[in-house]
């Protein structure tokens, strides 16, 4: 039989006796049980089922037996034992629900504990109070320590920020000074218009030290661009000279940076090139010198035609 095959009411009614006796296979049983909830068949089948069930139950009464005389006493003893067991279980459940503790802090599982006596309860309360005080003190100490740590950390952070701000201020100041110097240099170069004389020192050397002097004859100022210079000792410096009328005249002390470069603005020069034939560089004391102490290692000839204002 196909379990999905719908049966007629009469076919289902024929199954009722076997259903009561537990004789149907799975498909037949499923079909009959669908009939029990069928809107049209249900009433008839339920009625049939009840009458067949009654008949089968009556079959059980066809042959009463003679139980042993002590069977009832044993049955009553068994039931009394079941009752005691049930009561014990109920008491255990009540006790467990009355006071349970977690087996672990993170566990939902609980275990039963013995009910405490009044004295034990007082001792527990005192212990709990002392424990609470210690716990509170511990919490406060921890909070204080945490506050100190936070304060120290805050102070350190503030100091670091202040230091960084100071460094930034210094860097900004240096940058501003450099910009001002560049501005002055640019001003010197541009303000000379057509009266700027360029003097190249050591122009024949493709490598090695060299120097350019941008001389604003109109204003009597010059900008020096030096490069390829060797570093000098802390008490030494380079000196720019002009040779006028055959005599050296000191103009400016300067020191190069780590790259051997130096841009020196606002070098004071005459407003005429008349009589000035050369510009030269020597290494001198950082205090300066009124006359060269060495032979100039950079020399540049001043052009004659850019002479006057």
């Amino acid at each position: 039989m196909n379990s999905m095959t719908p049966l007629t009411l009469e076919e289902l009614r024929d199954l009722a006796p076997s259903y009561v006796l537990g004789l149907l296979d799975a498909d037949e049983r499923a079909a009959f049980e669908r009939g029990l909830v069928h809107p049209v068949y249900a009433a008839t089948l339920v009625r049939d089922l009840a009458t067949h069930r009654t008949a089968s139950e009556l079959m059980a009464t066809a042959q009463p037996g003679a139980p042993p005389p002590d069977l009832k006493a044993r049955m009553m003893e068994r039931i009394a034992a079941e009752k005691r067991a049930t009561a014990a279980v109920a008491a255990a459940v009540t006790l467990k629900s009355a006071e349970t503790v977690r087996q672990t802090p993170a566990s939902r599982a609980t275990r039963a504990v013995t009910p405490p006596t009044p004295r034990v309860m007082i001792e527990r309360r005192a212990t709990r109070t002392a424990r609470t005080a210690w716990w509170t003190a511990g919490v406060l100490a921890a909070a204080l320590a945490a506050s100190l740590v936070v304060a120290v950390d805050f102070r350190n952070r503030t100091a670091a920020l202040e230091e960084r701000a100071a460094q930034d201020d210094a860097r900004i100041a240096r940058t501003e000074a450099k910009l001002a110097e560049r501005e002055k240099t640019l001003q010197t170069l541009l303000a000379g218009r057509g009266n700027v004389v360029l003097v190249n020192l050591n122009p024949a050397q493709p490598t090695g030290p060299g120097r350019q002097v941008f001389w604003n004859v109109r204003e009597g100022k010059a900008v020096v661009n030096a490069y390829g210079l060797a570093p000098v000792a802390s008490d030494r410096a380079y000196m720019l000279w002009m040779i006028r009328d055959g005599k050296p005249v000191p103009l400016k002390l300067f020191t190069p940076d780590d790259d051997g470069r130096a841009i020196v603005a606002s070098v004071e020069l005459p407003t005429t090139t008349s009589g000035i034939t050369l510009l030269a560089v020597t290494e001198e004391s950082s205090a300066g010198a009124i006359a060269p102490t060495m032979t100039p290692f950079l020399v540049g000839e001043v052009p004659a035609k850019g002479a006057t204002r």
Partner: protein, 181 residues
């Protein structure tokens, strides 16, 4: 009994103990097992009393189902299915007449009257129908097993069972279901 009153259990046994013992004896066939089956059945009834639904049948039917199920468990556990049916019915007369000496007098009378009526109804069935029904009910055999036991084709067995049950139902319709609390 649902309220845990042991007196109700006592009354239940007085009223149905003999019938349930007879049913278990008929099915399991051994006295020691029979006694345990009956004890188990009444203990289960005691435990399940709170779940008993009066709308689903009589107390006798409920208790019969419990006892029969217990007996079938024993039978199946033994794997002993080769039981006769005719010898059981042969003892029906004296068993039914004897009843239970430990049942209450009124219950005993009722049981005896009912047993006689049921026996009469069974006796009126054609032998193939009665045998098939008794094999199914008392031994818990399936259709196939009944057919094997009776050496009949499966289709031939189903019809006698259906017809026999219908006749039995009609014959016993006058015995109203009892209501015992």
């Amino acid at each position: 009994m649902a309220q845990g009153d042991e007196r109700a259990a006592s009354a239940l046994y007085d009223r149905h103990g003999a019938v349930m013992f007879g049913l278990a004896l008929r099915m399991a066939g051994e006295s020691a097992d029979t006694e345990e089956e009956v004890l188990d059945a009444f203990a289960q009834a005691w435990r399940d009393a709170v779940r008993y639904d009066t709308s689903r049948g009589s107390v006798a039917g409920w208790l019969t189902t419990i006892t029969r199920t217990r007996a079938l468990d024993v039978i199946r556990a033994r794997g002993r299915r080769a039981r006769m049916t005719d010898t059981a019915t042969a003892t029906l007369d004296e068993q039914a007449a004897m009843g239970s000496g430990f049942a209450a007098p009124d219950a005993q009378v009722q049981q005896t009257e009912r047993a006689v009526a049921v026996k009469s109804a069974l006796d009126q069935l054609p032998v193939p129908q009665r045998q098939a029904i008794e094999l199914a009910f008392f031994e818990g055999l399936t259709h196939h097993e009944v057919a094997d036991r009776l050496s009949e084709p499966l289709g031939t067995v189903k019809t006698p069972i259906r017809l026999g049950m219908q006749k039995l139902r009609d014959a016993l319709s006058s015995l109203a279901p009892e209501s015992v609390s």
